[in-house]
Symmetry: D2
Subunit: 337 residues, 4 copies
């Protein structure tokens, strides 16, 4: 039997080259860098990895490259959602062949399905998958998976865990209460790093979150401190992570803020497949200035030559800039400038 | 210059064969049937057509078959959304080649994007598409397109219309106010047939809605009556359509109720790619009994041999059944039955 | 038996004096003015009338004054919601004594109650009220009243109508379908004037909406045109009303934009009981400039001496101003200005 | 200067007599009981206390009785929201006279106000109140108070704390980050006991939550354990509290489940002012059977003579019952039973 999935598994981004194609060399370099900085696992084709903006063939290639490059050093949890259950199962087959530890499958999206449909979908997959399956609940983007449905699904052996990105601690506790007593090896992972430490404290087994792709040292440290019950130290880092997280999450459409941040760590991410308007490009540059300061506070990057503003208001210039952009755009539309 | 897109364009479903593959013969027969019953156009790869449950290659094939079979009798508005702008543009290219009148592109989904990102996405497509583009706003499933964004996008010549599935009349009026004065040929289509007649009355140019794939005669009649200003007659039909629409929409996860209905018109739809649980299959059969009665009232199908209940409560048995199913399922979970 | 409630019933505002108390003389003048301009009824203590910002004693006084001043010229539909069913019934008693035609009772608010609780609450009132009751459904602010609940409540004789402020035409049609066949005298009123004409067209009996307190001539005219089946003319006015409505609704917190507008018609409204910040006061003045232009287009007020901008962009300066306010406020918070 | 508000402050319920009036003797007995079981303070006129279902005069009387009975043993945080700022200030005046430690004022409700209006409202109160003010943020029921608004309001000396019932840990952390550095005595209280221990762990100063009115010993124990850093023990209780909380919260319309529970502790609560339907009364009795079992597990009450079902499924019968009720009601509506 395979071991329980625990720790920090990074839903990593995918670098693109000048032509907008997967930059395989940079992706391999990024995988090495993440493993060296202590992540417990890799999670290609997550929301952070923009799985939906790649073709089926590209998604397969991404998993193949990551599995190869990880080379058994850490487990790979491969996002396998495709157009329908049959296609998803074909991906499961492929990822099992690449050596992934398990697949992660997001609840059906676009349509908002009922719990009964969510159940039927995952059941079909669980009964036919050659590889362990973790559920992925992200109610903001996909059909929600409620506690009774999770409980029914946990009766299927192939389903070995759930990643929940709701950030709701009580929901996590309800899931754990409902399942852990009879499936102690079932893995509960949080996708909402804003509350990683409290989630671990209430019993979550780990996290799979975008921030770990930017500051893997930090999230690893938070995980280790919490496991060692040094909660005060862990919480101090949690507060600092929250500031960084909010900056990356709310200053641009997800996951562009995270892409902007990882560039500061030395990776060439290329242009996103979601086009940016000229206004958004300016916002992105402003955001990077702020992120550089936040990251330099941790010692992860050099501070900018011009120095950084006092902490509390670090983010404000970006917001003011965004507002100013709005004014200009509005005025331009009116033909006033 | 191409003419304005008007009338009822059917976002048709796709019949599947016993193996779950596209049933091309049945699809062609269905296309003929729709055209013969008066639809003004066809709309493959819409939400009703479950575009997201097909592979990119299948989506292309569907459009190809439909264009071939329509053979110029009615225009084809082809859903062209793919994984990213580049892939979408490749589909636009292909659909132009197949002879589609225009493409319809749903706003980016899964992620909820800001208006600026929605704008940047459609702008990229509009500037590069070889074929006219209609926007598709369905805020329930995809990033909303707000009025200022629509107004900005309407400045791009390639964008020739919008399909809006919000069902909000005031929103439709705001769009029309903002754009019609300077682009009179811009097409406004409603995707919410529950209010088709009022929408036409306030100035919409037509509708693209699932129900027209089930009762094309009815929606065509409603359209014609409204155009002839026979509003009382049109509204009588609107009330009857609403009852049918609600039954199809709320008694099963969309669009399964519509698939169940079109089978009664004589088409083999096959099993949906979204698996149904045993409970859902029973619900579907019950729903079909109700739908048969509703459709027989219109004279579209034979009444069932056992007769139909009085109108007002036609749908109630289905609902009671669903509740009873819930009870049973709940009890079963508790090990009580 | 009392006659069906139909037409435009105005949920009027309440003028306040320099001390913030009810300005009775101005209220009486306003009532006369509304009746003279053709409203079919008056509706004190509605949402527009800020019932929640008055004390129970003040609410009674408002109804008393309005009933006295209406003096039987038009029916009064008195908002009677109080802290609980018993207090509400005491208000019903009082308003019956004042000569109100019926009371309107909003669904329980603050808590979001289940349909069963909503039913129990209205049932308690209906069984004990000495005066006819209309339900008031405003899901944005209060517990929603769904169609099955309305249907159950319509079995109680005292309940004679419903005002619905959802603006959802299909919902209105569902209510009418469910109730009109067996209670033809039950009254369906829309509270969403953005779609007044379409609502009347699908069978609503009238409207009770804030805009009729600002431009009673206009809403009366729309009602009469629709009844006379001059729909094209009615819709032309509907489009113009929408522009005015949006300006009043979205440029300030409800109902302050309507208070700002009615001042232009010559009434002293006094300061709202909801305090305005300095920023909001400036916004209000800017809004009044825009409203003056919109109202002067109808001929209801004089155009401002400095003239009006071209129609399409009339509202934009207000919006730009609001954005500019935001910038300034943001900068001020940062200590940058 | 007054000391910081910390610990568990109980938003207690109000017992009613056979005539539906405040049962003062029982209220006094309840106050004593709560204080004896270790609550750090009392919070009359909260959401749990159904403030909105009492008249202004009754609300005053409730605070008066509670202040008298507390008699300085614990501080009283008195809910003071009235119809408008002026009435609220009059209540503040009165409650200061009764000896309350501070008032708690819920954000304006019914209307959904903008941040600027929320700010203006609280500013008006803070500048004129003779007593310290805590803000009450409960976005489910009232206009939300966002972080920038809280930050602006925290500049007013009279505002000394905030109770937040969102249950969102990241939101709590953002508030603490924004305010604590320059106002260390500002009090952060959570109203979402489902996550009381994690909230205390991340830095909240205490909680004001309904459950402490039912099991004050338990919540006090959780508070003390957390303060003593015995987090494992605290979390074990948190999990058990969650089960109880969910039963009280989700099996009836709030706060009826809590009223049903406190009756089991020996208090006569009387009939709620929100009427219960016959169905709801049966549900309430079933719920009490379940609650008796949950409370007996803690040793707070005797187990029922017939014994209790195994833990995991304790709540299920209630849910099944509710579903069965639905079936019956539905069938009855159809005239089938």
């Amino acid at each position: 039997m395979s071991s329980k999935i625990t720790g920090i598994l990074t839903p990593h981004m995918v670098p693109l080259d000048a032509d907008g194609q997967i930059n395989e060399a940079e992706l391999r370099r990024y995988v090495d860098w993440l493993i060296e900085r202590g992540v417990h696992g890799l999670y290609p084709n997550g929301s952070t990895g923009e799985f939906i903006r790649f073709t089926p063939a590209e998604r397969r290639r991404i998993v193949k490259v990551v599995c190869e490059q990880a080379a058994g050093r850490v487990p790979v949890l491969a996002g396998a959602a495709e157009a329908n259950a049959r296609e998803t199962l074909a991906a499961c087959e492929a990822y099992a062949g690449f050596g992934a530890r398990a697949v992660a499958i997001v609840s059906p999206f676009y349509y908002r399905l009922s719990p009964e449909s969510v159940y039927a979908y995952f059941r079909e997959i669980a009964l036919n998958s050659p590889i362990d399956v973790t559920l992925y609940n992200i109610p903001l983007f996909a059909s929600p998976i409620d506690v009774p449905t999770i409980r029914r699904l946990a009766e299927l052996e192939r389903i070995v865990g759930i990643k929940d990105s709701s950030g709701d601690l009580a929901f996590m506790m309800r899931m754990i209460s409902a399942i852990r007593p009879y499936r102690p090896e079932f893995s509960f992972l949080t996708g909402w790093e804003a509350v990683l430490v409290p989630m671990l404290m209430i019993g979550a087994d780990g996290g799979t979150h975008a921030t770990s792709g930017v500051v893997p040292e930090l999230t690893r440290q938070m995980y280790d401190l919490t496991r060692k019950k040094q909660l005060d130290d862990a919480m101090r880092l949690q507060y600092r992570l929250l500031e960084l997280f909010d900056a990356m999450l709310y200053s641009a459409d997800f996951p562009e803020g995270f892409r902007a941040a990882v560039e500061l760590r030395g990776f060439e991410m290329g242009h996103s497949r979601q086009p940016l308007s000229p206004t958004q490009q300016v916002d992105r540059e402003n955001l990077q200035r702020v992120l550089r300061c936040l990251l330099s506070d941790f010692g992860y990057v050099e501070a900018p030559p011009e120095g950084c503003p006092p902490r509390a208001s670090a983010l404000e210039p970006v917001r003011v800039n965004k507002i100013a952009d709005d004014v200009i755009r509005e005025l331009r539309k009116q033909g006033l400038v």
